[in-house]
């Protein structure tokens, strides 16, 4: 799925991760976000565009200002992404534990 790949590409960049951290608590304008970085303003704008395109950020128009805030639903999707992988290992290790417990009780 392209969308998912984009999300992971988006969060693979340290500046973009920092932006997500920054807006996690409250919505900020592009200017306020850029003020936190040494990077040139257009570079920050590009990062914001990428994060918005893959839906990790949402835009809110408030008068003349555009505020960026985090899309909690999308962030959760990214976090959940690891869950099937974790489940696979959990199943496998549960099985390991069962097999060895049976062996142990047989031995005693």
């Amino acid at each position: 799925m392209n969308l998912r790949r984009d999300v992971f590409q988006a969060i693979s960049d340290p500046t973009r991760r920092a932006i997500l951290m920054l807006v996690a608590s409250h919505a900020l304008t592009a200017g306020a976000i850029a003020a936190n970085f040494d990077t040139a303003r257009p570079t920050v704008s590009k990062h914001l565009q990428i994060l918005t395109e893959c839906e990790l950020l949402k835009q809110n128009q408030n008068g003349r200002e555009i505020y960026y805030h985090i899309n909690a639903k999308k962030m959760k999707e990214v976090a959940d992404f690891i869950e099937p992988f974790r489940n696979m290992w959990d199943d496998r290790f549960n099985k390991l534990e069962d097999v060895m417990k049976k062996y142990k009780s047989k031995k005693q």
């Binding site: 799925m1 998912r4 790949r5 992971f8 969060i11 693979s12 960049d13 340290p14 991760r17 992404f81 690891i82 099937p84 992988f85 974790r86 489940n87 696979m88 290992w89 959990d90 199943d91 496998r92 290790f93 549960n94 099985k95 390991l96 534990e97 069962d98 097999v99 060895m100 417990k101 062996y103 142990k104």
Partner: protein, 155 residues
């Protein structure tokens, strides 16, 4: 049920760490990795070769209930220290996934409990993400076969 197995995969990195605490003494946990008989039971695969030593290798093969081989994996063992550590490579044959490097650390917690820490290093960030995107790539057939076995015993 409590989530016993933890996966720590930091964004943008090409490795990840899987940890698990077992209600098993360290020696029994290690035995599950050392003896083909036990590996076969919990991995749900056939162990064709398992040479537990430096320069040794291993080869697993899984078949579907009809006997068709559906999964093959192999690797070489770089370190085998009983009840402590296994360092090995892991490769799934006939798949686009590159070989990965695995560090398995076995620890005693109490006389009756133990911990396994599995550090897996992938060829690239993209390769790790692909493995995560296909969570069952390493085990779909194994899981499937095991499920079938369980269902058969329920009948």
């Amino acid at each position: 049920m409590e989530r016993k197995t933890k996966v720590n995969a930091e964004e943008g990195k090409q490795d990840l760490v899987i940890t698990r605490e077992f209600d098993l003494p360290l020696e029994l946990l290690f035995k599950a990795y050392e003896e083909p008989e036990f590996l076969e039971q919990w991995m749900g695969t056939k162990v064709l070769k398992l040479e537990n030593r430096m320069h040794g290798g291993y080869h697993f093969e899984t078949s579907d209930p009809k006997g068709n081989v559906v999964f093959k994996a192999n690797g070489v063992i770089h370190e085998f220290s009983r009840n402590q550590r296994i360092v090995r490579t892991f490769e799934m044959e006939n798949t686009p996934f590159p070989v990965q490097l695995e560090f398995l650390e076995f620890e005693k917690l109490t006389d009756e409990t133990s911990k396994l820490t599995m550090h897996i290093i992938y060829k690239s960030v993209a390769d790790r993400e692909q493995i995560l995107r296909m969570p069952f790539a390493q085990g779909i057939n194994m899981a499937h076969n095991r499920l079938q076995e369980v269902l058969l015993t329920l009948k």
